[in-house]
Symmetry: C2
Subunit: 220 residues, 2 copies
């Protein structure tokens, strides 16, 4: 059934260097219209640039991708795909078969928690210990029942989360603006990128540098 979560935004931060968050500490209402298991707080980021080095013969093999249309009942229970995100303003609950942005950001917090678990497990097994959210972390999340977390999604919105972490005020303003104008999630996502570039420039860093300065973004 539907599931509503209430949590304070005054998150687990306990920041460290360069915390650009300004501190309005309202109570947020999250929601996943369908499931959910836990909730936390964290931040993230990374640009979508696809530079890649070693320019060479790029075989340029473009072939059709096929999907296994195995839509066979499965179990009858459990949604297949997450509801799409819509642009919501801070604290706003998404209506209908949609998810809001507070919920999106909470997924990043959850990933941070899963990373911590993976790190602890690795440590006590004497294995190599990741400092970033890796494939292994996504796998762990899935195995832990958080099937609604997946790599493509998290990577896709990472710089939106980053803006949220680095400057909540500006992030909130953007959300309200895009909601008001009735823009879709894709447009909002794009828009999140530019403030980050500006912030990086102001601090004389690249985007990655900005991420690394922030406790919660460092793991992305």
């Amino acid at each position: 059934g539907d599931n509503t979560i209430i949590l304070s935004q005054n998150n687990t931060s306990a920041s460290f260097p360069l915390n650009l968050n300004s501190g309005t500490d309202p109570v947020l209402i999250l929601q996943n219209n369908g499931h959910l298991g836990n909730a936390v707080s964290a931040l993230m980021g990374l640009p979508d640039n696809n530079y890649s080095s070693d320019q060479q013969a790029k075989t340029l093999k473009k072939q059709k991708r096929r999907r296994n249309k195995d839509s066979t009942g499965e179990d009858g229970e459990g949604r297949q795909r997450e509801h799409p995100f819509i642009v919501t303003e801070p604290g706003e609950l998404a209506r209908g078969k949609k998810n809001g942005l507070d919920y999106l950001f909470d997924l990043y917090e959850q990933c941070g928690k899963f990373l911590l678990e993976v790190q602890h497990l690795a440590k006590e097994r004497g294995e190599k210990c990741p400092t970033k959210v890796t494939n292994q972390v996504f796998r762990h999340a899935k195995h832990s029942g958080a099937g609604y977390i997946n790599k493509p999604k998290m990577r896709h919105y990472v710089h939106c989360y980053a803006l949220h972490c680095l400057d909540v005020e500006q992030s909130n303003r953007l959300r309200r603006g895009y909601k008001e104008r009735g823009e879709n999630v894709g447009a909002w996502r794009q828009a999140c990128y530019y403030p980050l570039v500006t912030m990086a420039k102001e601090n004389g860093l690249d985007i990655e540098g900005v991420f690394n300065k922030h406790e919660k973004l460092r793991i992305w």
Copy 2:
């Protein structure tokens, strides 16, 4: 023709945290009996442990490895394989068709330099910038004419280099001991591992932690 290089061991260090080097600063004589191009100074390390996570069905497919026996003259010039290392004491020049350990350690310094070059190139191209010695760095080294540097070799001796960086005295003692006893390189290499474990334990860290504390080992 043969090539001898003289350089001060008081290296480019300019350390930073936890520099365990004790500071005898003699003049070292390096040598690669056959080529060589430049020389620097740096340090490195990493254990050979093969933990790996996600224990699973390990397909265990063992198949014959084949080599391209293309020993065709090539050019007539240029050695194919590096001369093997022998255990030499500090400052000792390897005799005959052998290379000494000072030369081995210098290769790690060279790798550090190649990493810096790759980092600068990446930065000015706006590409992703490696913090570690990666495949790309080995590729760059090869392209830059340092064909005598290759990944398997560098990984193989990394913890020997680490010991050298973290405690030259002990490293030197070990070298002298193993040379005296006429042990082969493989035995010496193995022996380098244990002091590192002890050092890690003393500092309450794992091997990787020890590496990360040292300016020059961090890149491995």
